[in-house]
Symmetry: C2
Subunit: 323 residues, 2 copies
């Protein structure tokens, strides 16, 4: 559709193009009826729970006008896959709600859908529906649905005293480095961790905010050491690597806790995922009705741990500070 | 949150408010984990299929700045419930993606969520997640998930030669009359029709476009009579009632076909739904690889039927014409 505006192409042709591009035929992945009816119809596996997530990507907020549409679509899908992964689920189905101005180029929109399809295909999610509508600003809402055995979802609320806190990959500077457009959602790792982790989340708001989520939902205190954090090259090149890891967000790595009794965890991880770092950064402390998160600064390891501010990315606040 | 801007309230407090308002506790409706984790976790019933739908409502396109936020939220939820109903499914879970400017009033946003909750509660759907993000224009993306017995979904593709074509309620002038903000999704009727209709859809793009959907997906010709159409008062007050019913859209009534052999259909409907009209407007003709839809004009009933244009609401085209 490149070189033609959406207003020339028309909604029916856009949907028809998507329907062809994504190979969303009925029959795959439990899809009984895909694009082309009022709703998609899907058949869950017996004795499986489903995980549901919707996440938006909006021009000017989550990407810039100059970013490649393929990368933008890939990010929109990747954010949702990262959330599905953080539950320990496998992706199954997704729907895409796209809003764009009538004068948007058809090729740009194609690029977004191709980016969505690239990651979806890699991780086995089938496009089953969606919607195109007119708006002054381009936005993509991906709804994702994953599946896992009944009762097996890893929640933020599962952390136990004595657990080791781990994080995959490297943290910080995701926006500055452009990694926020090209990250790999940790789908296979999340499924593997389903049987090993007590609590799990993905690092989307920043290590500080996401560790606070685990502490508050689990009702436990948490302690980490800044010297243990796996900083990204972008974070290491910034004035304050710890602040970058704590507060930048959009790393889309997995943050999880593992029982202290799981003595083989590190070696098993290395066997399963030899190419991805998995770093212990701290421990879960005692249960608490009023939990806190503390960290030992890298340059001051003999001092008492300091309170880690909860602040992370807030879509509405401008000051970004919390007491 | 009335009287305060979203930028003052902050995302965490907004989500906390939603979490409290909607009573989305785990345990209801198969919800294992609701708002507050990376994804919602839900448990489908054994031997049931799911229907999935996402639909946006955008200020300036689907509603005006002066519309009541309660009505806007109600419409956003109602559109999705109407699609779920048109499959014959019962609503189970929904997620809401809201985008708004930082200076938006918290009370306005509360009103939107209250409108969503009013219809969701009436028809048994539980809010299990969502997202708030920052955008120049207010938009609400509702993702809905419904359920029904395996294989029971009513598709657009099920119409058979000889079927009678029915429509619920009255058509036309939905925007002009404001009904598009206050319609009742036909959830109970859709579930009832699951065992009676061959094909079903809802009238969202307009009778013409939606009947074309059935004809094309089923591979059948369709004939209707303009004199049989149940016109709304707004359509009757317009210069061309048939054009209003054919092309206005957003009626959110059910359009479906019933086998000619179902002799008790009309009386059974009247017993089940004494307060809602259900009107036969035409018949399904022969199977065709190149289907058409024809209508007999009201003022010219002795003449040959005329081709019904396919045009309906297209979000990107400005001329709205199709050959």
């Amino acid at each position: 559709m490149s070189g033609r505006m959406l207003s020339e192409i028309g909604e029916a042709a856009i949907i028809s193009g998507i329907r062809g591009m994504n190979g969303c035929d009925a029959g795959r992945n439990g899809v009984l009826a895909g694009i082309g009816d009022d709703c998609a119809v899907v058949q869950p596996e017996a004795a499986e729970d489903l995980v549901l997530k919707v996440d938006p990507v909006i021009m000017g907020r989550h990407f810039s006008a100059g970013d490649s549409p393929y990368d933008v679509g890939r990010k929109a899908m990747g954010r949702v896959l990262s959330d599905i992964a953080s539950m320990g689920a496998r992706p199954r189905w997704h729907l895409v709600g796209l809003a764009a101005p009538p004068h948007a180029d058809g090729g740009y929109i194609d690029g977004i859908y191709e980016g969505v399809a690239s990651l979806a295909g890699k991780y086995g999610s089938v496009l089953v529906g969606g919607d195109t509508s007119c708006s002054d600003v381009i936005s993509i809402n991906v709804f994702g649905c994953g599946a896992l055995p009944h009762g097996a979802a890893r929640l933020r609320s599962g952390a136990e005293p004595g657990d080791t806190i781990y994080v995959t990959g490297e943290l910080g500077g995701s926006f500055a480095s452009g990694r926020h457009l090209r990250f790999e959602p940790r789908v296979r790792e999340g499924i593997w961790l389903r049987d090993r982790a007590n609590a799990m989340t993905d690092v989307s708001d920043g290590l500080a905010a996401d560790l606070w989520h685990i502490a508050e939902e689990s009702g436990v205190n948490a302690f980490i050491a800044a010297s243990l954090i796996p900083y990204s090259p972008a974070a290491l090149g910034s004035p304050d690597p710890a602040a970058a890891a704590f507060f930048d967000g959009e790393d889309f790595e997995l943050l999880f806790t593992v029982p202290a009794s799981d003595a083989d965890f590190n070696s098993d991880w290395k066997s399963a995922f030899p190419d991805l770092r998995c770093t212990p950064i701290g421990v879960i402390g005692e249960k608490s009705g009023n939990p806190f998160v503390k960290y030992s600064p890298a340059d001051d390891s003999g001092a008492h741990p300091r309170a880690l501010p909860k602040r992370g990315f807030d879509h509405f606040r401008t000051d970004k500070e919390e007491p």
